[in-house]
Symmetry: C2
Subunit: 277 residues, 2 copies
């Protein structure tokens, strides 16, 4: 099944728009896992088993694995394989924010889709649609283009005026009109900017799905975000939280604590799903 | 020694502005290396030994290693370590074009600088200077920001008009005025756009160095590029070529063929170094 349909099915099945970001880092791991073999994989496995009924996707961010070099990449591969084997209906979003010329992007696509078996990836807009065509050509995969990002300084270029409106709207329009021939494009829109999210929803219409980082540790407001980004079907969003869920406890109860956090967050999101702004 | 001074020293020592891109990929490797252990590392080692007197830097592109997963990353690490041990005066540029929020970029920095020991990295501008501050803070490292890229479709956003001039000039100006407090910023400017390169040189002045991809397989013109990008000292450029050098021959003579190509290319570049446009 392609990514979009896999996502739609799990939205329904788990009644959830919540994505859990699998971004382990050593200082935040529970003590009892730090010295074992494959600490990131074992951490992730416990988080996944505890939350699989509550999420619509898992999103490992490549950076956290790369920081540990080849060993980390190995654990990223184990993590993706574990999800595919044990929870085949939950899509894996590889958050790697890559972008290069086409020849090089084909190598990144091999990493994401062949080596890791990811169902979707995040990519950079800067080099234009021609550069990322090799991603766009993968009809079965979700291609999530960074649009209005969640960081405090994201407006430096994204908010510049082009053709009398802000650049992130131009990116959204180009994706809508030119990049999305296969219907596999999504936009990355930070939870920290609900007003901008509402504008983008208005521009691209109901069909395009947003990946929404910036909730939790980065301070995005759940109600404002959900109301701004929802489509008329009460979906259209993949709302990610990483640190505030996976590091809910640093004790041996970390997985149960993550489950409780995820449970609460799913409910909170669902509370606003009937309240499209 | 910091990256900028290391680069200036090797420009002089090797009388070269040429950077060799270490971008192996399996179909292009010589047959006798394909089935051996660590094929990318062994390929790179031979290329490095054959060209070390002729270059000012090596630039492995992370994508080509990632495509082979953990095994590829291991060979990237071996490649970087080999250069540092055997040719410590030649800087290693990790071309990984990363960009994320600050918290995540610190993990990418750990990959580049701690795990691989890279002297410089390429980064994305899209999320703004605040996001890449963790890179900019590394005073000893070169931070190369994608500005006008070499791909044919790079103008889609980079050429949009903001404040009556093109966006890539705004990026260059922000880097010049705000990002470069530590004097460690460089810009990535494709060889395929010499006119744009001349404008950027005019804007940022003589001190800022450009990493120049797009020569060779991508079709950049050597004379036009060198004349457009040189500073008054006849330097200011790190001109990369990957495929046209490293895959000059697919036979057992591949390293010698790469040496001959590099020799010719260094000469060709040097021919124009007195001819600032």
């Amino acid at each position: 099944m392609d990514f979009i349909n896999k996502l739609k099915a799990i939205w329904d099945k788990n009644n959830s728009l919540l994505c859990v970001g699998l971004d382990p880092d050593m200082p935040n791991l529970p003590e009892h896992l730090k010295d074992g073999e494959a600490p990131y994989f074992n951490f992730n496995k416990a988080i996944i088993d505890a939350t699989a009924e509550l999420v619509c996707a898992y999103k490992p961010n490549s950076a956290f694995y790369e920081a540990r070099g080849a060993a980390g990449i190995q654990e990223l591969q184990l993590t993706c394989a574990y999800i595919h084997e044990n929870y085949p209906d939950i899509p894996v979003i590889l958050d790697f924010k890559r972008g290069d010329i086409g020849n090089t992007n084909s190598q990144y696509a091999a990493f994401a889709f062949d080596y890791l078996g990811a169902d979707a990836v995040t990519v950079q807009p800067w080099q234009g649609g021609e550069a990322v065509q090799v991603f766009l050509d993968r009809k079965d995969k979700g291609i999530m283009i960074l649009d209005r990002t969640s960081n405090t300084g994201s407006g430096e270029f994204q908010d510049l005026l082009v053709n009398d409106r802000k650049l992130y709207l131009q990116v959204a329009q180009n994706v809508r009109d030119n990049w999305n021939k296969n219907g596999n494009c999504l936009l990355v829109v930070g939870a920290t900017f609900p007003q901008e999210m509402a504008e983008i929803r208005e521009l691209v219409g109901d069909d395009m799905i947003f990946l929404v980082p910036g909730m939790g540790a980065q301070g995005g407001d759940t109600g404002a975000t959900v109301k701004a980004g929802l489509n008329l079907a009460g979906t259209g969003l993949v709302i990610n939280s990483s640190r505030s869920i996976i590091f809910a406890s640093s004790g041996e109860d970390f997985a149960e604590a993550a489950r409780q956090k995820a449970l609460g967050f799913r409910e909170e999101i669902n509370k606003y799903r009937g309240q499209k702004a």
